[in-house]
Structure formats: structure tokens, C-alpha cells
Amino acid sequence: MSTTPENISGTTIHEAELETSFKDNLARRRVEAAIFKAVILLATFFAMAILATLVWRISAQGWAWLNWNFMTSFPSRVAARAGILSALVGSATIILLTVVFAVMLGVGAAIYLEELSPKNKLSQFIELNISNLSGVPSLVYGMLGLAVFVRLLGFGRSIMAAACTLAMMILPIIIISSREALRTVPPSIRLAALALGATKWQTTWHHVIPAASPGILTGIILAVSRAMGEAAPLIMVGGVTYIAFLPNSLFDSFTTLPIQIFNWAGRPQEEFQAIAAAAIIVLVALVLVTNGVAILIRARLENRNRW
């Protein structure tokens, strides 16, 4: 315990003795602060309310039509007999191919740019180029696919052309997220491996990539979920809406779930709107599950040892 200095005795001064040129406005400001908080809280719940309304409306419209027949039938001119089999198979095939192409190129480019390339004007240029590519509208990738894959390379309006187009579209997303994942690996890991006599490539392959892989994977999955819902570029490369067979080769014509939904939703008849909703339930479930997996991996990643 302390002693009090002798120049201080124990009388408190009343605050009324002070005079200033300030006018008390606290009551008003308290109300303003409360209103502000209420408004931004409302804004925050707005986003969630939209999601809830969307899920509720679509379930209400489509749930009754969702059954095994719907999943295993081909599209039909009669809504009651129509199904999404060819769309599901088309989506699955295209996405699978897209992932193969985009991962091969995207992760490779990320590794090169982040780990191996000299940091000079040229790599800065490539970086700027990639960030601009990620802002190009998906529709424009469709035009690229139409001109290059459909016509120039002669893939025609095929699964192959669709997969290449989607791969080009998600390439910048994968490069950017993979580079971010690689960047979180601390330099000390690289230095430790290099100090043991490993080459730059050995260091990257044996230490850096494994350490960054959950982050890279998260980015890939998010990009894939984006590709799954995309319709515009595929319409450009010739996605059709009436396909009553399953593909035999990668150069067969194709349809996908979003294209099928676009077609049905654009028709005036109510039954078609309803089966569009049923197909949306399937699509949204797939997209959300994919997203959920990515969010889970990221959560586990965050629980792992922090560097």
C-alpha cells in the first residue's frame, strides 16, 4: 500500500465547478448511436433473410416434383415426365474434366510464380494480367471458348469445348488462391530445407506444397463450386437444352444443370417453372455441399498449428 503525497488531502471537487463552451448533447447522441446500430444490424440480417427467402421459395415450388424419376429421366416436352439425368451426367463429366485441366495449369502456374520465378518486371506483369483475368465476365470466356475451342481447335459444341472453357474461366481463381496458400508457408521452412542441401524444386515439392495443400485444395473446391453453377459461358459454346441420351465420347454435345434450369425457368408454363425449382434444389444442394466441404477444410486448417 502507498502513502498519499502530503499535498493531497481528501476532498473531491464537484464537477459543476467547471465551465466550458460545450453544450451537453449526450442524450441525443446515445439515441443516434442506438439507431445506427439497429440499422446496420438490420443490414446484416438482410443478407441472411434473402438466403432464407430464396431457400424457402424454391423448396416450396420444387419439393413436390423432386423424386427418383426426376433424377433418372431425360428432359421431355411434358413437364411431368421430364428429368435431369442428361444434365446431371453432363455437369458431372464437364466439371471433372474442368478440374483436371484447371488444377494442372492453375496450381502449376501458382507454384512457378510464387516459388520459382525470379521476382522481376515480367512476373509482375503476369501477376497484373492474372488479377485482371479474374475480373473478366464469365460470358467473355464463353466467347473465347466459342472462337478457340469450338471453331479453331475444332472441338465443336462438345463436352471437351465446355470443359476447356470453364477451365480457362476458373484458372485465375485457382492461381490466386493457390498463391495465397503458398504464401502462408513461412520462409523458415524453405530455408531449413535449402540448408540441408535440397534444391529449390525439392524444397518446393517435398515441403512447401504439402504444407500449402489444404489451402490449395480449399481454393480449388471453391472454384469448382463456382464452375458448377455457371451457365453463361456454356451457352456460348453451344450447350443445348434437349438431350435425350448419355454422352459416348468427350466430343458429344452436352447440357448441364444450370442450362437446363435456365431453359425451364424461361418458359411460361407453371409446371416447367416448378421442375426448374426442383432442379435448382439439386444444383444448390450440390453447390452448397461443395462450399461446405471447403469451409470445413478451412476451419480444420485454422485449427492446425499456426505458423
Binding site: 500500500m1 502507498s2 502513502t3 498519499t4 503525497p5 502530503e6 499535498n7 493531497i8 488531502s9 481528501g10 476532498t11 473531491t12 471537487i13 464537484h14 464537477e15 467547471l18 466550458t20 463552451s21 460545450f22 453544450k23 451537453d24 448533447n25 449526450l26 447522441r29 446515445r30
Partner: protein, 250 residues
């Protein structure tokens, strides 16, 4: 003399860890009081309770005791921390001017707090009192961030003065500054003491000796000795205080 601000048997904690233990301290008007002690002794935590800046630390708890500012219980449910901060200003360790003009830095606080006077006059008088006017009078509309570190800190002092506070809390205000800027701010404190009650946390014992009338020495959350500065530095009553002042630890 009278008491402006006081802590009574105060115990403060972050989570379960008591940072300040049963500390009492009373500060009179128009004095400079220094809080000294080694890092982690709780002096900054104590200082930040006087204007309730600890409210923003989620794990902070007031375990027992009370803080009084004049006749108000600072941590009472009925007291609005905004009101306390209106009267008890603060200058921080690192200069933190707002990224806006010098003039705006000065006028923002008063303008939201219902200032009724003339703003140009306010800017000039605050900057004069903070000994910054001559350096910035021609560039009041340029950014506060463009000033040097020492100037920024004086701008922050001017900003606090503009609120016409009763008490100014200073949390190691010179620790991020060079010696020349430090000397200017120490001079400034001596000038300001005839109008404001100043509490300063400092690592620098010479600074405490130069600027303060009273000094409180804290160690491991406890108040070891609180007394006249001359006495603390020349004839400390406690062995611990003497050891610290002689530089045997800390």
C-alpha cells in the same frame, strides 16, 4: 488540496489474471503525476481505467474497488463512458492522428461533443498550447499523417486539449519519439500543468523526475510507493523503489 481523480482499493484483471492488485491513488488538480514501474506492472492498465479505455479489451474485468473522477464513480452503471472521456482526455504511446487534415484532427472531437465556440479560434489556441502552431499554421489543411513523429504527437496533444479536458492521461507519450521531440513534449507538459491535471505513464525515470510533482511506483500490480517526486527519487521509503530507481532491475 482537493482530489480530481482517484482509485480506491482497485483490483483489475484480464481474464483470470489480476493485473492491478488493491491499488489506491489520489490525484489533485493541476499537477503532473507520473506512474513508473517495470513492463507489465499494470501502470498502463491502471491509467486506461481512468477514462474506461479498457472497455474495448474483451477479457478486461474490474474485480473490486472503484475509480472516482471528481464526484462520479467512473465504473458505475449509470455513468456513460463517453461523458467521462469528454472530461478525461488521453494521449497514446504511438502518435495516432486521424488520416485527415490537421484542422480536422483538432475540430472533430469538439464538433461531435457539442462545441459552441469558434472553430478557427479553437484550432489556433489548441495548436498554440501544444506548441505546434508556428510549425503548421500555413498548412492546416494538409494531412496530419504528413507531419513528423514528434509533430504528430503534439497534434494528438492539441487534439486532446481542444476538448477542454479536465484531466489528460498520457500513456508513454514519448516512447516512439526521438530525444529532441521528447524534450519538446516534456517542456509542453510543464506548460500544461497550470491548467490541466496530467497523469503520465513512463518507462523513463529521468522523465518522471523532470516533469512530475508526484510519482507512483508500481511493481507486479501493486502500488509500492506513491509520494512527492523529489522524495521518491532522493529518499525512497521502500527498498524495492530504491532498487528500481537505482536500476538494479527493471
Amino acid at each position: 488540496m482537493d482530489i480530481v481523480i482517484a482509485a480506491k482499493n482497485l483490483t483489475l484483471a484480464y481474464g483470470d489474471k489480476n493485473i492491478v492488485k488493491n491499488v489506491s491513488l489520489a490525484v489533485g488538480p493541476r499537477t503532473v503525476t507520473a506512474l513508473i514501474g517495470p513492463s507489465g506492472c499494470g501502470k498502463s492498465t491502471l491509467l486506461r481505467t481512468f477514462n474506461r479505455m479498457n472497455d474495448f479489451v474483451p477479457s478486461f474485468r474490474l474485480v473490486s474497488g472503484e475509480i472516482n473522477y471528481r464526484d462520479l464513480n467512473v465504473y458505475s452503471e449509470k455513468v456513460d463512458p463517453v461523458y467521462i472521456r469528454r472530461r478525461v482526455g488521453m494521449v497514446f504511446q504511438k502518435p495516432n492522428p486521424f488520416p485527415s487534415s490537421i484542422a480536422k484532427n483538432i475540430t472533430w472531437g469538439p464538433s461531435i461533443n457539442g462545441f459552441t465556440g469558434d472553430y478557427d479560434q479553437l484550432v489556433e489556441s489548441s495548436l498554440r498550447r501544444a506548441a505546434l502552431w508556428d510549425e503548421v499554421k500555413d498548412k492546416l489543411n494538409s494531412s496530419g499523417l504528413a507531419l513528423s513523429g514528434g509533430q504528430q504527437q503534439r497534434l494528438c496533444i492539441a487534439r486532446a486539449i481542444a476538448m477542454d479536458p479536465d484531466v489528460i492521461l498520457m500513456d508513454e507519450p514519448c516512447s516512439a519519439l526521438d530525444p529532441a521531440s521528447t524534450a519538446r513534449i516534456e517542456d509542453l507538459m510543464t506548460d500544461l500543468r497550470d491548467r490541466y491535471t496530467i497523469l503520465i505513464v513512463t518507462h523513463n525515470m529521468q522523465q518522471a523526475a523532470r516533469v512530475s510533482e508526484n510519482t507512483a511506483f508500481m511493481f507486479q500490480g501493486e502500488m509500492v510507493e506513491y509520494s512527492n517526486t523529489k522524495q521518491i527519487f532522493n529518499a525512497p521509503k521502500q527498498r524495492l523503489t530504491e532498487d528500481y530507481i537505482m536500476g538494479r532491475f527493471g
